[in-house]
């Protein structure tokens, strides 16, 4: 009953507001008249009676206000009024509204874009994996970056699995998925294969869609379990969802395996890489280029591990457990090189393969939040400027009985509308920004599946962010404006102004500082990119196309595989338009590395070491590699076809290696000893010296480098490198040749070397682009801030300036007066920005190889840019100050 009454009145209050208002007016008017009549009966004259009545009532309008406040829906009502008023105001100052909303849109949009990408990477909800929060990833730590893994060795896996007391279902799979050739009755295709230990699916708690998955008792011994599990996607795509596939035999890299089942739809383990097929570890030597020796080699890192925490075990206990095992292994195998300690991380799609993406993402997040802060400072500055223009209005409203909380609410409503506009535009902008960011990421060599649709969590987060930002940037101006002291304002005041002015100055300084920070960061990355992609990387990537080939899929033996690669090189080399062709075990700047396993003749191993390995990296190449890559040979000769098995073993060393191994001597003819593999103990003769090339992304410093001829050191996974003569892509022709080979290389994936190299420079590229462009936006926003402050200063000092010039002060002194203020703000902002930029440079130094964190060029350009923009922003207010005439100024008062 009571509730019903409330609802009825609420509806009436909201829908028939005019009627309700009229009734209230009528009621109070009648009361006043009756009161006056009472007074007249008591002997007052009519006029005096009316006045006395009104005095007793105490102000009809203020009673109305109080009645409105108790009405149902009073809040909504006020809100509607506030909205109405705010929209009207914003429409009256469209430039203000547009600037504020636009700057917010950029800030919120940038954040939403980063959240969207981050959400898809970091949100850990792997499909068809039970209780993923209890899963951990284990690898060796990554130098210089607190995230990501270096691979561990297979014996590491066996040891951890055997010794752990805190983990169960310890599994392993290679750090990188492998391209494989799948041949079945439906045809031949390239698929992405993952090699996993037999307990993989059990560890993840995954159930099959069809058939069965691997079971822990499927044998991991080489060749023991010729079976495979298909992904749901592959099953639908290539086998028309036929459940009859279970039990059939297909060929993976020409090796027959029996399909035992299909993984559930959407399953891709805990990674972002979507494999098409899984085979057990027992197949690793058959379907990949790995040799059986790799399974036993304690020093050969190629797997990452995963495991599930035992019930009741905490993550920290598992970390301590693995650290103990690491210590024990170091004690037991003192001769072994354990380059980095084990690292245990909560399982996440970021953990294993994407340290670069993670770094880029962190960076993006930092940049995007900085932009939002700039935007908020800008809006707050604009609101403050508005607030000073509205002091009179506020004072008046306070004087006629509005209460202060109501005024604050009204000002906050305006801010909220701005932010609503800003976030709306920001979400639209975010879509474009996400696409732009993704297009900055180079074509990855692995199929990465990220869902980049805006999901409601991201939108919620954005709205929350906007709300918090709105309250933060709206509150200070609102409090200031509503503190208008009635009498002083109406008397045309000056108290309170300086406080507000200081606040505005602070906002402008913050904007300048943060914009400068962004520009410095963008500039540093641009410089790092220049450094990295300049010819000084030691090779020329332009015009080179590459394709990775797994020869183990084609020839069962070293001889057939070798002949196949030679035949391919020969055929591609004869194509018109191809200048040079060769193969290499790995590519420079592509985040790959290969240990040397070489020592100098006569070197004595250090105590506890089994051999006296020299530090450094190596590569295995076919003749012509140096020509394709345009790596200059400083001395000696390239490999030739005669550097074959049986011929004397040879090597080409890099300049750094020559310098370190044989300082001040001619390296040609010097010798190196092989420590590992089948040829252990054999002696290599140096036949050439090559210009040094940068091989790793993280350490750009040159390391000793040794090239070995592929004919003397067979490796089944190679990358074909082709240089075209006229810069036109030869990909189609190469594909035709590959398909005409016997057996054919189907669906060869060909990339430009520039793209491959770009993968390694992703964080720098993203950083340069995002920080640079947003920094420019920030500077523009700061310019608006400087303009606002200067214009306000000019308008406040109109009288002073007018009097000065009337008294004969030269125009120049007026300019100086105005300029000094703006420039001192800019200078303070720049100083703070420089300190921040220097700190950021230190933090980012791992990504800024080759550039000093305090790069004078970058800092100089950034300061010049900020100062220039600040001067430009002062131009309009100054020219206005110049035109001030004493008579106008006095009239304006």
């Amino acid at each position: 009953m009571v509730l019903l009454a409330r609802v009825t009145s609420l509806i009436r209050n909201l829908t028939r507001r005019n009627r309700v208002e009229r009734d209230l007016d009528e009621e109070l008017r009648a009361t006043a008249e009756m009161l006056a009549a009472e007074k007249m009966r008591a002997g007052y004259a009519p006029d005096a009676a009316r006045r006395a009545a009104l005095a007793e009532l105490g102000g009809i309008e203020s009673i109305k206000e109080q009645v409105r406040d108790v009405r149902s829906g009073a809040f909504l009502d006020t809100f509607r009024q506030d909205m109405h008023y705010a929209v009207r105001l914003l429409r009256r100052y469209p430039l203000f509204a547009l600037t504020a909303a636009l700057s917010l849109a950029v800030g919120i949009g940038a954040n939403t874009a980063v959240f969207t990408i981050g959400n898809s990477l970091l949100r850990f909800s792997p499909v068809a994996v039970s209780d993923p929060d209890r899963l951990v990833d284990i690898g060796r730590s990554f130098d210089g970056i607190p995230i990501g893994f270096n691979p561990a060795s297979y014996p590491d896996y066996l040891d951890i699995r055997r010794r752990t007391t805190t983990l169960e279902h310890v599994y392993a799979h290679p750090l990188f998925t492998k391209d494989m050739t799948l041949a079945s009755t439906t045809g031949t295709e390239r698929v992405v294969g993952d090699v996993v230990t037999a307990n993989y699916f059990t560890a993840l708690g995954t159930r099959p869609a069809v058939g069965r998955l691997f079971l822990p008792d499927d044998n991991d011994q080489p060749g023991a379990s010729p079976i495979a599990v298909l992904s749901h996607r592959l099953w639908v795509r290539s086998f028309k969802s036929d459940p009859g596939i279970v039990g059939q035999t297909v060929r993976l890299n020409r090796y027959p395996v029996t399909v035992v089942g299909v993984a559930p739809e959407g399953f891709q383990g805990t990674t972002v890489v979507a494999a098409d097929v899984w085979v057990p570890m027992s197949m690793v030597t058959y379907v990949t280029g790995s040799t059986a020796a790799q399974l036993d080699a304690r020093g050969a890192g190629w797997v990452v591990l995963g495991a599930r925490l035992k019930p009741g075990v905490t993550f920290q206990q598992a970390v301590a457990d693995v650290a103990n095992i690491d210590g024990a292994l170091r004690a037991e195998y003192p001769g072994q090189q354990h380059p980095q300690p084990f690292r245990v991380l909560q399982a996440s799609p970021m953990a294993d393969k994407m340290p670069l993406a993670a770094a880029a993402l962190l960076l993006l997040g930092a940049i995007a939040s900085t932009v939002l802060v700039i935007a908020c400072a800008n809006v707050a500055g604009l609101l403050l400027a508005r607030a000073s223009g509205r002091r009179r209005e506020m004072a008046l409203r306070l004087a006629i009985g509005a209460n202060r909380s109501r005024l604050i609410r009204q000002l906050l409503t305006e801010t909220l509308i701005l932010f609503a506009l800003g976030s709306g535009a920001g979400i639209v902008l975010a879509r474009a920004m996400t696409t732009a960011l993704i297009s900055l990421l180079p074509a990855l060599p692995i199929p990465v599946h990220l869902s980049l649709t805006l999901d409601w969590r991201v939108v919620m987060l954005t709205c929350g962010l906007a709300l918090v930002a709105a309250l933060l940037s709206g509150l200070a101006p609102a409090l200031h404006a509503s503190r208008a002291d009635v009498s002083s304002v109406l008397k045309d005041e000056s108290s309170g102004v300086s406080a507000r002015f200081r606040l505005r100055n602070a906002f402008v300084v913050a904007q300048v500082a943060l914009s400068l920070l962004l520009i410095v960061v963008g500039g540093l990355f641009t410089r790092a990119l220049q450094q990295a992609s300049s010819a000084d990387a030691g090779f020329d990537a332009s015009g080179v196309e590459v394709a990775s080939i797994d020869a183990s899929a084609l020839g069962d033996s070293e001889t057939t595989g070798m002949n196949y690669v030679r035949e391919l090189i020969d055929r591609v080399g004869r194509l018109p338009g191809v200048n040079a062709v060769s193969t290499a075990r790995m590519l420079p700047l592509a985040s790959e590395s290969m240990g040397l396993g070489l020592s100098l003749p006569g070197a004595v191993p250090a105590p506890g070491e089994s051999s006296a390995d020299v530090a450094g990296n190596g590569n295995v190449v076919m003749p012509g590699y140096f020509a394709v890559m345009r790596i200059p040979l400083r001395a000696g000769r390239d490999f030739t076809d005669r550097d074959a098995p049986g011929a004397p073993l040879v090597a080409i060393v890099g300049e750094e290696a020559a310098r370190r191994f044989w300082p001040e001597q001619d390296p040609i003819g010097k010798q190196l000893v092989m420590n590992a593999g089948t040829g252990a103990g054999s002696v290599l003769q140096v036949i050439g010296v090559a210009h040094d090339v940068k091989y790793r992304t993280v350490d750009f410093g040159t390391v000793p480098f040794v090239y070995l001829p592929m004919r003397q050191h067979y490796t089944s996974t190679v990358t074909l490198v082709v240089r075209s003569g006229d810069g036109r892509s030869t990909a189609d022709q190469v594909r035709t040749v590959a398909a005409a080979m016997s057996p054919p290389l189907p669906a060869l994936s060909i990339q430009s070397l520039e793209d491959v190299v770009a993968v390694g420079l992703t964080p720098q590229r993203v950083g340069a682009f995002v920080a640079g462009s947003l920094g420019l936006v920030g500077v523009l926003l700061a310019a608006i801030g400087i303009y606002g402050v200067t214009a306000y200063a000019v308008s406040r000092r109109t009288r002073e300036i007018a009097i000065r010039s009337a008294l004969g002060a030269p125009r120049g002194s007026v300019v100086r007066l105005v300029l000094r203020h703006a420039m001192s703000l800019t200078a303070v902002g720049c100083a703070i920005g420089l300190v921040l930029g220097g700190l950021a440079g230190q933090v980012l130094s791992t990504l800024l190889v080759g550039v000093s964190p305090i790069d004078p060029v970058t800092l100089g350009v950034a300061i010049a840019l900020c100062t220039g923009v600040a001067l430009a922003a002062c131009y309009v207010p100054i020219s206005r100050a110049m035109r001030i005439e004493a008579s106008d100024a006095l009239r304006s008062e």
Binding site: M1, V2, L4, A5, R6, S9, D23, L24, E26, E27, L28, A30, T31, E33, M34, L35, A37, E38, E56, L57, G58, G59, S62, I63, Q66, V67, D69, V70, R71, S72
Partner: protein, 108 residues
């Protein structure tokens, strides 16, 4: 401060309900009736009276209608609804309990 306001508000509500228990009145009438009932102890300000009347009306305890006043002016009259009468009963009972308790407490 808040406590006093809420006590007064409760008291004012009860006084208004009581004032209207004998028949319908307009706002000024309610005010005069309360003065009369309390022997002039409570002089209700219009700024408190009208919001209270509207609040009680929205709570469903009062109903209102437009009628001619004693000097033939259209005026808004309030009267108790059934729910209002019930509320008056409950509030009176509660008040008596409180008053008794207070008296006891102060005499003890």
């Amino acid at each position: 401060m808040t406590q006093r306001a809420s006590l007064l508000q409760g008291t004012l509500d009860l006084l208004i309900l009581k004032a209207l228990s004998t028949g319908e009145l307009h706002g000024l009438g309610v005010s005069r009736r309360i003065e009369q009932m309390t022997g002039g102890t409570f002089a209700v300000q219009a700024g408190s009276l009208f919001p209270a009347l509207h609040r009680l009306e929205e709570s469903g305890w009062l109903a209102s209608m437009w009628e001619a006043s004693e000097n033939n002016r259209r005026a808004k009259y309030y009267k108790l609804t059934k729910a209002g009468k019930r509320q008056l009963g409950e509030a009176t009972e509660q008040w008596n309990r409180i008053a008794l308790a207070m008296t006891k407490a102060l005499e003890a």
